[in-house]
């Protein structure tokens, strides 16, 4: 009894379903609203679909001829004005497969029928010539105005930002940091005191601003008794080009003068000329090299 009821139920449901699919395919199996321009095909699934293979490009191009995309409408009427960008794009695609970028049953609007554009459908060469399609989008700012190389050197096809600016592309202009970064130059005393002849790259790299490569050891080496505390030696409100060792009670002018005169050293105003660190032995070595000019015993 149950078997019969089940079989009859199945057959009724199945036959009604099949009949519905045949008579009203759009209402029975269509997965979503079609775009307005395709609505006249709504009950003719096979005009776009091949049974077992879905919507194949071969069927699309029967109406949408690649050579006419952007230039002529499906009806054959000329587009006025022609969409040259669309035309160029579609004719540049290698092995064109409509479903790579387009879909259907996604709403009435044509925009809904276009999915995200994949740049990899273009040839490798064309992928580097972004301005063929994106010319109006090139920024008209100080950085981009002068650049002549391809966008793809810094930007990806996925997104404009973040970019990976390669400074080496600037060639001879690599050291002219201020031409782009003028507004970013620090206004602290140290940087303000630097002349225009000093280039940022003398202390900083193009990869990052910090840490800088400024080598204080070249002038004086820090140690436990001489820590890297700027104000100990420099007047940070004026300039870093001058310094004094007399801010420390250890180095009182009278005491220093006495000790140097005793050693026969008369020119002792520029301490770091001999004392490149707090190490007395280090100073001895330098002093020996300078003998003959400043010492009394020469």
């Amino acid at each position: 009894m149950v078997k019969h009821t089940a079989l009859i139920s199945f057959l009724i449901a199945f036959i009604l379903g099949v009949a519905g699919i045949i008579v009203f395919p759009y209402y029975t199996i269509n997965p979503g609203v079609m775009i307005e321009d395709h609505m006249h095909l709504k009950n003719d699934c096979l005009s776009c679909h091949t049974l077992g293979f879905g919507a194949q490009t071969e069927k699309c191009v029967e109406c949408h001829r690649v050579s006419g995309i952007g230039i002529r409408r499906v009806s054959g009427e000329e587009r006025e004005p022609a969409n040259t960008k669309s035309s160029f794009l579609h004719q540049s695609i290698i092995n064109i497969q409509c479903y790579d970028c387009h879909t259907e049953h996604n709403g009435l609007s044509r925009e809904n029928a276009t999915l995200i554009f994949r740049h990899d459908v273009l040839s490798a060469d064309l992928q580097k010539e972004c301005t063929k399609c994106h010319s109006p989008q090139k920024p008209d700012d100080d950085i981009h105005r002068t650049l002549t190389f391809n966008c793809s050197e810094c930007h990806s096809t996925e997104s404009w930002k973040p970019s990976h600016f390669k400074h080496e592309l600037l060639g001879e202009k690599l050291n002219e940091c201020r031409s782009c970064h003028e507004s970013k130059q620090p206004v602290d005393v140290l940087h303000k005191s630097l002349g225009k002849e000093i280039q940022c790259v003398q202390c900083h790299t193009t990869d990052k601003w910090k840490p800088s490569t400024f080598n204080h050891t070249k002038y004086f080496r820090f140690d436990g008794n001489h820590p890297s505390n700027c104000v100990d030696c420099h007047d940070v409100n004026k300039t870093f080009e001058t310094y004094t060792c007399y801010n420390c009670h250890e180095h009182r002018p009278a005491k220093i003068e006495k000790e140097h005169i005793k050693e026969g050293i008369r020119n002792f105003t520029n301490c770091v000329e001999c004392h490149r660190s707090g190490d007395e032995i280090d100073a001895e070595g330098r002093r020996d090299k300078k003998r003959g000019r400043d010492r009394d015993d020469n």
């Binding site: 009894m1 149950v2 009821t5 089940a6 079989l7 009859i8 139920s9 199945f10 449901a13 199945f14 379903g17 099949v18 519905g20 699919i21 009203f24 209402y27 029975t28 199996i29 269509n30 997965p31 979503g32 609203v33 699934c45 679909h49 049974l51 077992g52 293979f53 879905g54 919507a55 194949q56 479903y99 049953h105």
Partner: protein, 191 residues
């Protein structure tokens, strides 16, 4: 009093049904917002597979297969059918554009409700027979007399048979629409 008693008995089954709908709605929202929307397409296949596996119980009950305990397979049937229904609801996504898949989902929800009703009836039948047997034993009735009395309770078993007359046809209606949906997808989708 009786109404409250009955409601308390059916409440667990209402909760199981509500959890199915609620979990599908929450998971559907989560998968849409977390970029997992593309997986929903495949959940239909997984859900269908689970429901098909759950039919081992039906095969065992009709002695088409001989392995497994019917009671355990019934529990597995309930669990897999519920989980499969959840996956199919997620797959359907509460967006019913076409009649055939819409009918399949509605039929599935009715089958789940019917299955829960059967579960309730079975539980009631077991409890009634158990209670009645204890009651009759307490009256020192002979085994023959007990069986005679229990025969009256076979009405409940009849209810189960009636329930089967509804549950199985509903299931095959669901199967018919699901099959049509699968066939049309195989024919029109680009795999």
């Amino acid at each position: 009093m009786t109404a409250r008693f009955t409601f308390t008995k059916i409440l667990p089954f209402i909760i199981i049904y509500a959890v199915l709908i609620g979990a599908a709605a929450i998971l559907h929202y989560y998968m849409h917002s977390s970029g997992l929307k593309w997986t929903l397409r495949y959940l239909g296949i997984a859900g269908t597979a689970l429901i098909l596996i759950s039919f081992f119980y039906s095969l065992r009950k009709r002695k088409v297969i001989n392995f497994g305990k019917a009671k355990s397979l019934l529990q597995i049937h309930e669990l897999l059918a519920w989980t499969g229904s959840l996956l199919i609801l997620l797959h359907a996504g509460f967006e019913f554009d076409a009649v055939i898949p819409r009918m399949a989902v509605f039929a599935m929800l009715i089958v789940v409700a019917s299955g829960l009703t059967g579960k309730y009836l079975l539980k009631q039948a077991r409890e009634s027979i158990k209670e009645k047997r204890l009651e009759l034993k307490a009256k020192n009735l002979s085994e023959e007399e007990i069986e005679k009395e229990l025969f009256a309770l076979s009405l409940i078993a009849d209810k189960m048979q009636l329930w089967r007359n509804v549950h199985i046809p509903l299931t095959v209606i669901f199967a018919a629409f699901a099959l049509l949906h699968i066939i049309t997808i195989l024919l029109f989708w680009r795999w």
